[in-house]
Amino acid sequence: MVAALNLLHYAFMRRALIAALLVGITAPAVGIFLVQRRLALIGDGLGHIAVTGVALGLVLDRAPVPIALVTAVAGAMAIELIRARGETSGEIALAILFYGGIGAGVVLVSQAPSGSRSLNQYLFGSITTTSAQDLLIFAALAFVVVTVTVVFGRALFSVSNDDEFARASGLPVMRLNLLLAALSAFTVVVSMRVVGVLLVSALMVIPVAAAQLVARSFRSTFVLSVTIGMIVSVAGVVVSFYADTPSGGTIVLFAIAVFLLVLTGLSVRRALHSSA
């Protein structure tokens, strides 16, 4: 705690901790609906597509975050439309989109003045380089994600839990799915400086996976997974500063540690119950 407070003396660490909190809140808040839809890894695909946007920004010598936002949202819409067609060839189309995204990104960045070193910061996170402009964009996106999640939460739950019933109920399922896809794209962009586009999916899924082991309702899973998300993000940033490790990997390892801790705790409790 004291260590965390000491970090607040540095402006770049204040920005880093705020960015970490934003990711800790938004990633599980969107991830819970993706997990319920059994599309847990869609964030990973969106991260791949966002790489093209980052690379474009580096090549054009413009801020990569806004360009990545446009690319990720366009990719999210394309994914949802391909999925909605429901054809077997859709899987191949998605694979082309995902790996095309990262392939184009790598080729583009080879032409950038700063080279591939800059790209790494976005792939795996480099939280201490978060600029004030980045933070403003992240805060605005996080505000949109949280507001939409709260306002449309019940409708998103209904579509994620049973889209056929939602369609029979007259809900605009396609529009809600596009909304969730856009929220996922926003979350990928919010996360790109903190955990990086290649690790963002971990924060969308692992806190939810840990929470659902102990929670007994959708609402309590939501609250618990956001809480876990915030704790592991902030703890990961603090530890990565002192241990001089990459923030993205550290945060993800923290999240996995929490998941394993909960799983072990449950196994021990079950063993004690059965022996009693």
Binding site: Q36, L41, L94, R154, D162, F165, L171, S217, R219
Partner: protein, 271 residues
């Protein structure tokens, strides 16, 4: 708490009013016709769609709701063309499901609340009457004591009753159920039949896909018997040829190809 006070006043749907009109329709998937039918259902009827596995009864039910492709003909709900029909809260749909929720735990109350969206709208404020209607819907299927329990902890039959409560939460007077008795033990079948009996007594219209009549025999007024995608018989239960009542005995209650049309990409299961 009585459910009847939360059921919609369907003044537009008086006695013998048309609820569903399927005219020379063909339904299927990706341009493949699975069933052809011409069926008209009126207010207060209890219609069983009977037939063996693959006969097209589930596709016909989904076709009535616009959940599968319509390849020919027309469908009207409450006298309006399906594509113009907006007031979906008048119809409660119970899909065929072995489990009522995904990987995240969902309580019975949360599941049933999602059925209320058809009448409250996407972002409608939660009112006290919504909570009362949800409690009444849970009550009519006899799950009040389990309302706060995660759905996955319930038996298959109890989960099916929770799905019926979800369909009722909007106040619908028309229920469309897909194999509600499949894989359900005797006690839960009877509990479901009791709940349907209460609804039918209050004037509800019911369309139910079944592979055999079972405990619903005393409630059903009319049968539509299907085989190989065609309607073989449509008339009162008493006039139904006995051999057609038993066509579904070879049915697989755990669902054939009709049960899953998902893309199957990114499957994730609870550890």
């Amino acid at each position: 708490m009585r459910l009847s006070q939360y059921l919609r006043e369907d003044s537009a749907a008086g006695v013998d009013a048309s609820i569903v009109a399927v005219r020379d329709a063909a339904f299927g998937y990706r341009n493949q016709v699975a069933v052809r039918a011409d069926v008209h259902i009126h207010s207060g009827e209890v219609v069983a769609l009977l037939g063996p596995n693959g006969s097209g009864k589930t596709t016909l039910l989904k076709g009535m709701l616009g959940l599968v492709d319509r390849l020919a003909g027309s469908v009207e709900l409450f006298g309006q063309p399906l594509e113009q029909f907006r007031d979906r809260s008048r119809i409660g749909y119970v899909p065929q499901r072995q489990t009522a929720s995904g990987p995240i735990p969902v309580t019975v109350q949360e599941l049933v609340r999602s059925g209320r969206l058809a009448s409250t709208g996407l972002i409608g404020r939660r009112r006290r009457s919504d909570n009362d209607a949800i409690a009444a819907a849970i009550g009519v299927v006899g799950l009040t004591d389990l309302a706060r329990r995660p759905v996955v902890e319930l038996s298959g039959g109890q989960q099916r009753r929770a799905l019926v409560a979800r369909a009722l939460a909007s106040g619908a007077r028309v229920l469309m159920l897909d194999e509600p008795m499949a894989g359900v033990d005797q006690a839960n079948q009877e509990a479901l039949a009791d709940a349907l009996c209460v609804l039918i007594d209050s004037g509800a219209t019911v369309v139910v896909v079944l592979h055999e009549l079972g405990p619903l025999e005393s409630l059903v007024t009319r049968t539509v018997c299907l085989d190989a995608g065609s309607v073989l018989f449509d008339g009162p239960l008493a006039s139904t040829p006995p051999r057609l009542l038993h066509l579904g005995h070879d049915h697989d209650p755990h669902g054939g190809p009709e049960a899953d049309h998902g893309l199957g990409l990114f499957k994730w299961s609870r550890p």
